[in-house]
């Protein structure tokens, strides 16, 4: 019985350890994925194998283990590199343009499209009525076509 309890305890402890390790690694890569590698071209710290990216991932892991939150960790890197280091621009100041301009452009496009569609449907509906003389000419032309066949 004692051995059974011991085995269960060891198994439980190992499982908890491995889950903890996996969680912290996932968190490291999540946070690293939000940071731009300073010496790479269009690569995140998570994706880069450069030395400085490796160092940054190590720092993230240490800071997570020390109990820092994601925003505290990101703020630390911003202190060195500024907002540039964030792959997703912060939603304040001039960076708001990045978030607002696509929405504004989409809305403006939608308004233009609706305007054009209204104009087209109105133009189609406003076909001027033919006069009796014009209708007579059309009838004669059609009759002529039928006779010639």
């Amino acid at each position: 019985m004692f051995y059974l309890v011991l085995v269960a305890l060891v198994a439980g402890f190992s499982l908890a350890q491995s889950e903890g390790g996996t969680t912290i690694e996932r968190r490291v890569f999540e946070i690293a994925g939000k940071l731009r590698c300073p010496i790479c071209v269009s690569e995140s710290v998570a994706a880069s194998s450069s030395q400085i990216a490796i160092t940054m991932r190590e720092e993230i892991q240490e800071q997570l283990e020390a109990g820092l939150s994601e925003s505290q960790i990101l703020a630390g890197f911003q202190a060195s590199y500024g907002d540039w280091v964030l792959l997703e621009p912060p939603r304040r100041g001039v960076h708001l343009l990045v978030w607002l301009l696509p929405v504004a452009a989409g809305a403006a496009g939608l308004v233009l499209l609706i305007g054009f569609m209204r104009r087209w449907t109105r133009a189609a509906a406003e076909v001027p009525a033919a006069s009796e003389a014009e209708l007579e000419r059309v009838r004669e032309a059609l009759d002529g076509d039928v006779d010639s066949e």
Partner: protein
């Protein structure tokens, strides 16, 4: 329609600017205290400076020129003699500190670099590049001009010239 095109054009230009660290030569730390440094001194300079060099302690109240370099970096080879000239001319008034970084496991190559250029100013080894990261390094060479009070006066990304160094030293001493 013109407004939409202009807005998208603006967004495109903004995106281009954000992705170009080589054009950002300023630092987010201008006017702020620079991160402390405590790194091992290269073994060929141990007798002059001891085993570890620390900032701000070892600056002893002097302004500091911190030059981040790597052994494989060609511009670093061009500017090393210029930094030695500044050290020989102003060493009593301005500390020059070389930091070998982005060069993990290549301390021996760094020692050869120091010997090749006869560098006598303190040079340390940033083996895991943590000091470089703390200073917001985008590459090498990068040089930080630090006021005597420990705040960042100026940062220069890229190769130094003798004129630039003279001007910067003059600004640090005024």
């Amino acid at each position: 329609m013109a407004v939409v095109i202009a807005a998208l054009g603006l967004l495109f230009l903004f995106g281009l600017r954000r992705g170009s660290p080589d054009r950002i030569i300023t630092s987010n730390m201008l006017g702020q205290p620079v991160p402390a440094i405590e790194l091992p001194v290269h073994s060929n300079l141990l007798t002059q400076y001891g085993s570890t060099f620390s900032l701000p302690a070892d600056a002893a109240g002097r302004p500091v020129i911190i030059n981040f370099w790597a052994e494989w970096c060609e511009p670093c080879r061009v500017e090393a003699p210029l930094l030695q000239d500044i050290w020989e001319a102003y060493g009593d008034e301005v500390l020059v500190l070389g930091v070998q970084t982005l060069d993990r496991g290549r301390q021996a190559a760094g020692r050869s670099f120091i010997n090749e250029f006869g560098l006598t100013f303190p040079n340390v080894f940033d083996g895991d590049s943590r000091s470089g990261r703390a200073y917001g390094l985008f590459g090498v060479p990068e040089t930080f001009f630090v006021n005597a009070d420990g705040t960042l006066h100026e940062k220069h990304a890229g190769i130094l010239t003798a004129e630039l160094l003279e001007r910067a030293v003059g600004a640090l001493l005024n």
